[in-house]
């Protein structure tokens, strides 16, 4: 242990104390009129700004939300039991902000930017305000690069572009978080050398957990660590036991951190899990601040609450570095009711939605995406050419299949064309199935979807489609690696390549045991 000499201490103290008789300290103060339920009302502070940070005693901070004629309404980011009526509070003269920086990656933090993973302090030198105005039209450019989720059903049917806002919506236990986590895990590829060669920029991820169980978040962290995804991921956590004001600012903190990466020319993915609980937290503080309730008791500005958050997702123009912030908000519906207030709001704000259904989930179609009503309004421009080619056919085949599905029980009574369409559709549904935590690179997706849409898989029994996929892709990886590389590099599926896939598949089919 290093020894500390007494004279050194004296020197330090003298140095510090020399600035002791400084000039007068000037600050604005107010007093607490009322405190409780995570909010406080203050008297005084006549010059305070909206959303300014306020310092309370015992290191508790608050943010001004209401400016009224005779008092100031304030939300508290700490323990409200440490504050008493009559306490003196101080202005900080800065709006609520959080530290941002590279060092946040791999860490679990609270919405104020403080680490909560017990791995010591985070060294950052920049502060950014939580609420920032979204960029205007001039600073943006259209979404045109794909953000691969690694899920065939999404990358094929509802593609997501970098800078897009795609809603993931569904009942509880339908795999909403799983879709988001798979997407995060799939970004590992973008940080590899190979991606650099293929011209794919790395994607940094931010997972914002709002009002979830602490144990769920711990599971997410463990899984991401296990998959090696924490290196490029930051987790912002406001659990169900955190005060509602913290849950309220959590997504804004995520957007702020995301904007830091975006503004330095990088691509970011931010997952807001989930915004229904965020709206509930905002409703709580709003009602406590006595703002008038509206539909479902949400305050009048609950639409603006989410629109200003999601509007911060963007693809920057090349002049500004060309970074992007992709937002994946999640909404939990109650018994499939998408016509409730918050779901309709967020559906209308986002550039499309991925709809997850419990009955699909229970019948074994996982991810349980209802491809009929899931849409992506801008992502199509972002698909790679090869995928576009196979996906067009896929969409059509599946639509026809859904139309005829009701007649499937008549079996052999149907005419040949109908039977064939039913057969094709059921194989395609099978191809779109995928296990959790095994995202698939886009070149393999293209090959599988090509085989599905070209009718090659029709000869297989349904329960052999997935084993075929597994073994076929393994074989391709070991024996035809160049094929995968060409598709990944050129991003196109030429007729030559298609023919080659056909031949390889035919050869493989001879060795594949069709019946289990």
């Amino acid at each position: 242990m290093a020894e500390v000499r007494p004279d050194e201490i004296t020197a330090v103290l003298r140095k510090q104390l020399s600035g002791f008789e400084k000039e007068i300290d000037i600050y604005d103060v107010g007093t607490v009129l009322q405190v409780g339920d995570g909010i406080a009302r203050l008297y005084g502070l006549s010059k305070v700004m909206a959303s300014e940070l306020i310092e309370f005693p015992n290191d508790v901070f608050g943010m001004v939300l209401n400016l009224e004629e005779d008092n100031v309404g304030c939300i508290l980011f700490g323990d409200d039991t440490k504050i008493k009526e009559g306490d003196t509070v101080k202005r900080t003269k800065r709006v609520a902000s959080m530290p941002v920086g590279e060092a946040m990656l791999g860490r679990v933090i609270n919405p104020l930017g403080q680490p909560i993973d017990g791995r010591g302090s985070i060294k950052t030198d920049k502060f950014s305000p939580l609420e920032r105005k979204a960029l205007g039209v001039i600073q943006r450019q259209p979404v045109k690069q794909p953000l691969q989720t690694g899920l065939k059903a999404i990358d094929g049917m509802v593609p997501i572009g970098r800078g897009q806002r795609e809603l993931i919506i569904g009942d509880r236990q339908t795999g909403k978080t799983a879709v988001a986590l798979d997407t995060i895990i799939n970004q590992k590829y973008t940080h590899s050398e190979k991606a650099k060669k293929d011209g794919v920029k790395p994607v940094y991820c931010i997972y914002v957990a709002i009002g979830q169980k602490g144990s769920t978040i711990a599971q997410v962290v463990t899984k991401l660590e296990e998959m090696g995804a924490m290196e490029y991921t930051a987790i912002i956590s406001a659990t169900a036991s955190d005060p509602a004001p913290l849950q309220f600012i959590a997504p804004y903190a995520g957007a702020t951190l995301g904007e830091y990466f975006r503004d330095s020319g990088r691509d970011v993915l931010v997952v807001y899990d989930d915004l229904s609980k965020h709206a509930a937290a905002y409703r709580q503080v709003s009602l406590l601040l006595r703002r008038p309730p509206g539909r479902e008791a949400y305050p009048g500005d609950v639409f603006y609450l989410h629109s200003r958050l999601l509007e911060r997702a963007s693809k920057l123009s090349d002049d500004l570095g060309g970074g992007s912030l992709t937002a994946l908000p999640i909404i939990e519906t109650q018994a499939g009711d998408v016509a409730a207030y918050i779901p309709t709001n967020v559906i209308s704000i986002t550039d499309g939605q991925i709809f997850l259904e419990p009955n699909l989930f229970n019948s074994g179609i996982r991810p349980a995406i209802n491809v009929g009503i899931s849409v992506s309004r801008v992502g199509g421009n972002a698909q790679i050419k090869a995928m576009k080619k196979v996906a067009g056919r896929l969409r059509l085949d599946l639509a026809q299949y859904r139309e005829l599905e009701a007649f499937a029980k008549f079996g052999s009574d149907l005419d040949k064309a109908t039977q064939q369409q039913l057969q094709r559709g059921s194989r395609l549904v099978e191809v779109l199935k995928q296990r959790q935590y095994v995202p698939m690179p886009v070149e393999k997706q293209v090959i599988m979807l090509y085989l599905g849409t070209s009718g090659f898989l029709d000869q297989l029994p349904i329960d052999r489609v997935l084993p075929f996929e597994k073994e076929f892709l393994e074989m391709t990886e070991t024996r035809h690696k160049d094929l995968l590389e060409v598709i990944a590099e050129k991003k196109e599926l030429t007729d030559d390549l298609a023919k080659r896939i056909q031949t390889i598949a035919k050869e493989f089919m001879d060795t594949f045991t069709v019946t289990a």
């Binding site: 050194e8 020197a11 330090v12 140095k15 510090q16 104390l17 002791f20 008789e21 400084k22 000039e23 007068i24 300290d25 000037i26 600050y27 604005d28 103060v29 107010g30 009129l33 005084g44 502070l45 006549s46 010059k47 004629e69 005779d70 008092n71």
Partner: protein, 184 residues
């Protein structure tokens, strides 16, 4: 809390009346008389707050107490406020009135707390300094506060000018706790 708003309305109405009057000081003096009467008499306060006593009776009592001591404007004001059933906010309205009047006359009241009693010389110099800081006339009330250890704390509206040893010690403590004390 909503009382404060009502009080502000009644105070600003009174302020407007004062502005129209030929001799505003007289009105202010009359109001000061009323205010000090309310402050000093608990009975008067409970009378004003009581909903049981009829308006007629209240008016008669008020007229008997102040009648000749105050001018007609203030008398009418008191009657009007009783008619409206707002006599319970009278004390607050008067308080707000003096705040508004100070604002109009460019006077700020400053609370100064000191650790040791200031000499007349020191007080004068402090008042001079405060006047140059606020660019207004200053009405200072001094009080003693041993907790400060040394120096003074002046409160001008919501702004605090803190030159106390206590504050310096608090700052030092937080700096030592944060570990930002460094050798260089």
């Amino acid at each position: 809390m909503s009382n404060l708003r009502v009080a502000k309305r009644y105070a600003s109405a009174l302020m407007a009346l004062t502005g129209e009057a030929k001799k505003p000081e007289i009105i202010a003096d009359d109001l000061l008389t009323v205010q000090s009467a309310i402050k000093s008499s608990k009975d008067l306060r409970s009378l004003l707050a009581s909903p049981v006593v009829s308006k007629q009776k209240k008016k008669a009592i008020i007229a008997e107490i102040f009648g000749t001591k105050i001018g007609s404007v203030v008398n009418q004001y008191l009657i009007a406020i009783i008619d409206k059933g707002r006599e319970d906010v009278l004390a607050e309205a008067l308080g707000q009135y003096f705040v508004l009047r100070d604002e109009q006359l460019g006077i700020v009241s400053v609370d100064v707390r000191t650790a040791v009693k200031f000499s007349a010389e020191q007080e004068k110099s402090l008042v001079r300094q405060l006047e140059s800081y606020t660019q207004k006339k200053v009405r200072v009330s001094f009080s003693l506060d041993k907790i400060l250890k040394g120096g003074f704390v002046a409160k001008v509206g919501d702004t605090t000018l803190d030159g106390s040893i206590r504050r310096q010690l608090d700052l030092l403590r937080s700096r030592l706790k944060d570990g930002s004390v460094s050798k260089n």
